[in-house]
Amino acid sequence: MIRLRAWRWLAALACLLAASALGTSPARATSPPVPDASAPLTIWHAYRGVEQATLDALLASYDGDVEVLAIPYDAFGSKLAAAIPLGEGPDLFIDSHERLGDFIHRGLVAPLPPDALEEAAYAPQALTAVTLPDTEGHPRRWAAPMSMKSLALYVNTELLPEVPATLEGFEALTETLPEGVFPLAWEANSAYAHAAILGAYGIELLTAEGDFGMRGDAAARSLQLVMDLLDAKVLPEDADGALVADLFRSGKAAAVISGPWLAGDLPASLHYEIRRLPAIGDAAQHRASGATPETEESPAPMRPLLTVESLMLSPRGATHPRAAALLAHLTSAEAGRRRARDARALSARTDAPPPSADAFLRAFQAQAAVATPMPAVRAMRAVWEPASRAIRKTLRRDVTPAKALEEAARRFQEVRRPPPPPKDPTFFLAILGALSLFGALTLLHRARQPAMRARLRASLPAYRYVIHGVLLVGLLVLGPILVGAATALFAGQPHQMYYVGLDNFVDILTARSGPLFASGSFYLVLIVTVAWTACNVVLHLAIGVTLALVLSRPLLKLKSVYRVLLIVPWSVPSYVTALAWKGMFHRQFGAVTGIIQSVNDVFGTEIEPIAWFATFSTSFAANLTTNVWLGFPFMMVVTLGALTAVPKDVLEAAEVDGATPLQRLWHVTLPMIKPTMIPATVLGSIWTFNMFNVVFLVSGGEPDGTTDILISEAYRWAFTREARYGYAAAYAVLIFLILAGASTAGARWIDRSKERA
Amino acid sequence: MVNVETQGLRKSFGDTEVLKGIDLRVPEGSFAVLVGPSGCGKSTLLRLLAGLEQATEGTILFGGEDVTAYAPKDRDVAMVFQSYALYPHMTVRDNLAFGLKLRKTAADIIDARVTEAAAVLGLEPLLERFPRALSGGQRQRVAMGRAIVRRSKLFLFDEPLSNLDPALRTQVRVDIRKQHDRLGATSIYVTHDQVEAMTLADLLFVLSEGEVQQVGSPLEVYEDPANRFVAGFVGSPAMNFIDGCRVSADGAAVLVAERRLPLPPSEGREPSKLAGREVCVGVRPHDMSIVEASAHAIPFTPSILETLGPEVHAHGTFGAHEGVVAVSADLPLARGVMVHVRPTRLYLFDQATGATLR
C-alpha cells in the first residue's frame, strides 16, 4: 500500500517551490553523498548474455557484499545521469570509455585513486583511452580498462578461401561468388564503421584540436570509394547491424565487417575466421595532407575505432572504502583471463593475453593494435549526427561528397556553438516577484468581495471532490512542467545551470542566426510538424469514421470479429510495432518490397523497390503510414460510440425527405457526431503533434533530419547532442505555446461557427 | 401524513428569479396539485420541497418543522420523477428496496414491503427484471412502487404521466389517486396538464411566472378564477376572451360584438364600479348555446369543426375575435349563427391587470 508521510510531501513541495522561485536547479538542494563502509557496493552495467554471466561469476568469487543491476542499454546513460547526482546511483559502473568526457563534465564519474591501476600491465592505447584532463586541466585516469572492442573482418571460409588484401580486391568477387551473395557487408551508413575507412586515409572524426575532422579531399574520396562499392554491388544497401548479421549468418555475405558481438549470433555450423580489416589501395595514394605518412604498410590499412569497456567509479563510489578492492578484483589479470575464456572478450591488460588456441581473440588483438581509440572528449558527441548524415546523404547520391562534408562541418559548429553567456537574473526575479505579488493581491481582493465569497462558499462541496486530484496532478504533473518550463531560461548542465534570459528562445527563433528556412531550423521543422499533424489527423478521421460507419450498418454480420481485429494495432506496445514497420520499409529486404516483388511476379510488372527513407516524401509517407496504423482504431472506436447516440428516427426522417445516403451522412450523421468528434480530434491532434516514438523509431528523421518534428528536435537537443536541457526546454515551451494558441483559436472558431449556425 | 407549508419562498438562478415568494399551505393528507405552463416554476418549487435545490430565501415547514436547510435524505419524502429515474443497474426488486436499504431497514421488513407494493401495483412477475426490459407503463408503476414502499409522510410527483400514451394516462391517473386514498399521505403533484390537475386535486395551486395565481378546489378555481390567466388556463377547451368590450353606463350590461349582454346582479358585484369601463369578457365554450335569434346573442362564424363524439368544438370568430363554442353534435351549424351566452357565466376581467372584475 502507498503510505507516505505528509512531511515528506511538504518537504518536496517546499523544495520545488524554493527551487523554482530562486531560479536555480533543484538538484543543488540535495546533499552530497555520505560514505558508509557497511553499505553494500552497487555496480551497474548493460551487459547481456555471456558477458553478463561472466561478470556475475566474477562477482560471485568476490568476497564482499555487492549488488548488481543489469539495465537496458537504451536507458543506461539517462539513468546514470539521473541517479548519480542524487547519490542514488551505483558505486561502480561499466561503460565504454568514449562517454567519459561527458560523464566528467556532468560529474558522474570520479578519477581513479593515483595507484589504482598497474599501469605497466595495460595496453598503451587502453590507457590513452581512459586518460582525460580534469576540470583543472590535469590529465587523470578516469576508469579502469577492462576489454577492448573494435571492428574486424569476419570471413566465411567456405565462400571465401582466399581473402583479398585490399577493399578494392573485393570487387572482383562479384563474378566468382554465387548469385545473390554479397562479397562484403558492413553498416556503410554509420559513421562508426566509416571511421575505419577514414583511418586508412589518415583522417580522424575529431581532430586533436577538437574540430570536425571529416573534411577535405581525402574524406570525399573515402565516400566515393564506398559509393563505387555500392554501385558494383559489392555491398548491400542500407545495411544496419541486424541485416549485416543476418546476411553473414545465412551465407549471403562472404565477409562482413563487424565487432566481436557478432560471434554470439553465429551458428556453430558456420565456418568463419576473423581477419584484420583489409587495406585500401586508394588511400595509400591519397592520404590526408596533414596525416603522418604511412611507412610500414602500403597500401594503407583500415583503422577501426577502438572502444575500451571500462569500470568507472561514481563520486559516491570514490568515497566508499571497499570500492577500490572490488575495482582491483574485477580488473585483475585473472579476471581478464576469465573474461577472455568465458566471454571471449579481449582484455585490455597485456598480462592477460588471449589463449594461444583462440584464433578469434588473437585476430581481434591484432586488429586492436591498428585501431584508433575513440576520442572521449565531449566534442565527440557532436560528431556523430552530422557525420552520419553526411555519409547517408552522399550514399543516397543527394549531394556530392564535398558538399555533404561542408554541411556536416557547419552542423558540427552549430551544435558546438558556445551556450549563451550568463545574465543577471535580478530583472527577471523582480518581474516575477511583482507579477506574483500582483496576482496574489488580485486574488485576495476578489476573494474578499461578497459575491465572490458566496460563490466560493457554494464551491466548497465540489472542492471536496477535486482536492486530491488537484494535489496529485499539481505535484507530479504541473510541478515538473513548471520547473521544466523554467529551465528554458537556463543553460549549462543540469547541475550547474545558469540564467540566460530569453537567449535560448532568441536562438531558436532566429534559426541560430542561419537562414530562417534552413534544414533543421525551427520554422522548417514547424512546417513539417504541422503537415505531419494535419495529414495524420485527416487520415485518422477519414479511416476511423469510414470504418465506424461501415461497422455500424445494422445488417452487417461478423461485426464483433471485425471490431476486435481492427483494434489490434492499439494493443501491441507501439515501440515494438514501430520497429516492425521500420523493418517492413527496408528497401532490399522489407515486406513492402516483398509485396512489390510478388506483384511483379504475378502481373509481370516491373515496379522498382522503393528506398523509403531516401527522400522526404517517401520517408514522410512511411512515418505517416505507421502512425495512421497506430491511430485509426482510436478514432474508429470513438466514432462507433458517437454513432450509437444518433437516433434512427432522424435518419429515417431524412430518408423520407428524400436525402441520398451521402446527403444523409453529410447533413445528418456527421453533424450529430460532431460534438463527440471535436474534442477527440483536438486531443488526437495534440498527441500527434508530440508523437515522438514513431518519428524517432521509423525514419529517425531521415533523410537528413527533414522528417523530424519539433518534439524529436527537442529530444535530440536534450539527449543526443550536448545535453542542452535548457535549449530542449525552450523547444518544449514553444511547442506548448503553439498548441495552446492553436487550440484557443480553434475553440473560438468553433464557438463562432456555432453562433452563426 | 404531514402538512406542508412554505413562507415567502424565493429561488433565483443567477439573475433570473424563478420563484417570487411562494406561500403554500397543504393540509395533512390532502392531494395538492401545482399546475401551470412550462417555465412557471412549479418543478423548481417541487425540487425545493424535496431538497434538491436550496431556497434563496424563505422557509419550508413539514408538520411545523423547519426543513429548509435539510438534505433530501433527511426530509423523508418520496418522489416520482418525470423520467422515472429507475436505477438501470438494479432489478425491479432492488429498485424498490433501495430506499429502504439506504435507511438500514431490516431485511424482512424490506421483503414484506416490496412484496406488498408489488402486489398492489401488479409488479410481481417483473421483480427480477431490469428497467431496460420494461414497457413505459411498467416503468411508471415501478417508480410509483419505489415511492410507496418508503411509507413516506409526503409524496412528490413531478409530471409522472407525461411520458405515457394518453390511454394509459387516464388509467394511471386513477391508480395514483387510489393509492393516495389508500395510503393517506400528503401528496404534491406537479403537472402542466389541467385535465390531470382538475381530476386529481383536492387543492389546486395555479402558478404562473413564479407566483401562485390562485389556490382552491378544482371547482372553485374553475367556477371562480381569480384572474384572466387562471380562467384561460383551467378548463378545456380554454375560455374565450373578447377584448375591448365596454360596460354600459348603468353597469347592467356589457357590449360584445355590438350586442348588449346583460349582467345580472351577482354576489359581490358592484355595478357602479363597472359602469362605463372597458373590460375583457370571458366566456367558456360550454357556457354558450346556439340560438335562432335573440337580443342577447352574439354572431359567430364557425370555420373548423372538431367532432368529439357527443359534442363538437366549433372554432370560429365572434366579430373580430377568435373563439370556440362547444355544442351538441346533432345541432346543425350554418355559416353564420347566433350564440347565446348564459348571463350568469359571463366573466369580466380588467383590461390592464387581468384581474377578475366582480
Partner: protein, 286 residues
C-alpha cells in the same frame, strides 16, 4: 435482399477485410519473427516464420535468478507480476483520483472550474522531454526513487488528465434524475454518487481503467530510470534488455513483445463492447 443491398454488403465486407489486413499485417510480422529459428534476409510478402521454433518464447519466459537461500526463483514470473501490479495499481490510483474530479466537473459549478479544465488540457500539450528531470528530482526528494510506489504515482498522475476528460463525458450522459432519486430515497450526495452513478458508469470506468493500465503497462523509459532492482523491473524494461549497444536479439524481442501483449489483448477483447459505449457516449468530451 435487393441486388443493391447485396452489393452494399459485399462492398462493406471487402472494405473491412482490407482494413483488417492493414491492421494485422505488421503484427503478423512480429509473430513470425518471434517463432523464426533463423532469419534469412529475403524480401517476402507473407509473414510466416522460417525454421519455426519455440526457443525464443522459452528463452524469454524462463529467466531465473538466484535466491538468498541458494535456490532459484522464476524471475520472469516476478517481473510479470511487477508489471501487472504496477499497471493495476496505476489504473486504480489514476482512475480512483480521476473519478471524483470528473464527477465534480460534470455536476458542480465551482470557482476555478473552467481554469482547471484548461489546465488539464494544457498538461497534455507540454512535452514530457522537459518535465522528466524535475519529476525525477521530486521523487528523490520524496524518497520514492527505486520504489514501485514512485513509479505508480508517476504513471497514475500522467494518466489522470485523460481519465478525467473521459469520465467527465461519461458522467454527463448519466441523467441527474438518478442521483436525485437516490437522494430523495435517503442517500447523501456522496452515497448517490457511489451507489448509483458509479455502477451506471461502470463501462466507461472500465475503459478508462484500461487506458490507464496501458500507459503503465507499455512504458519503459521511466521504469528503467526509476527502478534499480532487477526483481522490480517491469516487462517493457526486460524486453528492452534484448536490445544492446551493438546488436539486438530481435527474435527474442518479438517473442517478448507477444508475451507482453497477451494480457492487453485479452483486456481489449473483454472490454471492446464497453469501449465503444464508454468512449462514444460523449467519452472524450473536452
Amino acid at each position: 435482399m435487393t441486388a443493391r443491398a447485396i452489393a452494399n454488403n459485399v462492398l462493406s465486407h471487402a472494405l473491412l477485410l482490407v482494413a483488417v489486413a492493414f491492421a494485422l499485417y505488421p503484427v503478423l510480422w512480429v509473430v513470425a519473427l518471434a517463432f523464426s529459428g533463423d532469419s534469412v534476409p529475403t524480401a517476402r510478402a507473407i509473414p510466416v516464420p522460417t525454421a519455426p521454433t519455440m526457443d525464443h518464447l522459452r528463452e524469454v519466459v524462463s529467466t531465473t535468478r538466484p535466491t538468498p537461500d541458494g535456490g532459484t526463483a522464476w524471475l520472469f514470473g516476478r517481473q510479470l507480476a511487477n508489471s501487472l501490479l504496477v499497471s493495476i495499481a496505476t489504473a486504480l490510483v489514476g482512475v480512483g483520483v480521476a473519478i471524483p474530479v470528473a464527477y465534480a466537473l460534470a455536476r458542480f459549478e465551482f470557482v476555478g472550474k473552467s481554469g482547471g479544465m484548461a489546465t488539464l488540457l494544457a498538461t497534455q500539450m507540454f512535452p514530457a522531454v522537459a518535465s522528466a528531470v524535475p519529476l525525477f528530482i521530486m521523487l528523490e526528494a520524496m524518497g520514492l526513487l527505486n520504489t514501485r510506489t514512485g513509479l505508480i504515482l508517476c504513471y497514475a498522475s500522467t494518466s489522470v488528465p485523460f481519465a478525467i476528460f473521459q469520465l467527465r463525458g461519461a458522467f454527463e450522459t448519466i441523467p441527474v434524475d438518478l442521483e436525485e432519486a437516490a437522494m430523495v430515497d435517503g442517500a447523501s450526495r456522496f452515497e448517490a454518487f457511489v451507489r448509483v452513478v458509479l455502477p451506471v458508469a461502470k463501462p466507461a470506468i472500465a475503459v478508462t481503467f484500461l487506458f490507464a493500465f496501458m500507459t503503465a503497462y507499455n512504458e519503459f523509459i521511466l521504469a528503467a530510470t526509476l527502478l534499480s532492482d532487477e526483481s522490480m523491473f517491469t516487462l517493457p524494461v526486460v524486453l528492452q534488455r534484448f536490445i544492446g549497444e551493438y546488436d539486438a536479439q530481435w527474435e527474442a524481442f518479438a517473442a517478448g513483445a507477444l508475451v507482453v501483449s497477451v494480457p492487453v489483448m485479452a483486456l481489449f477483447y473483454l472490454l471492446q463492447k464497453h469501449m465503444v459505449a464508454g468512449l462514444g457516449a460523449g467519452g472524450v468530451k473536452g
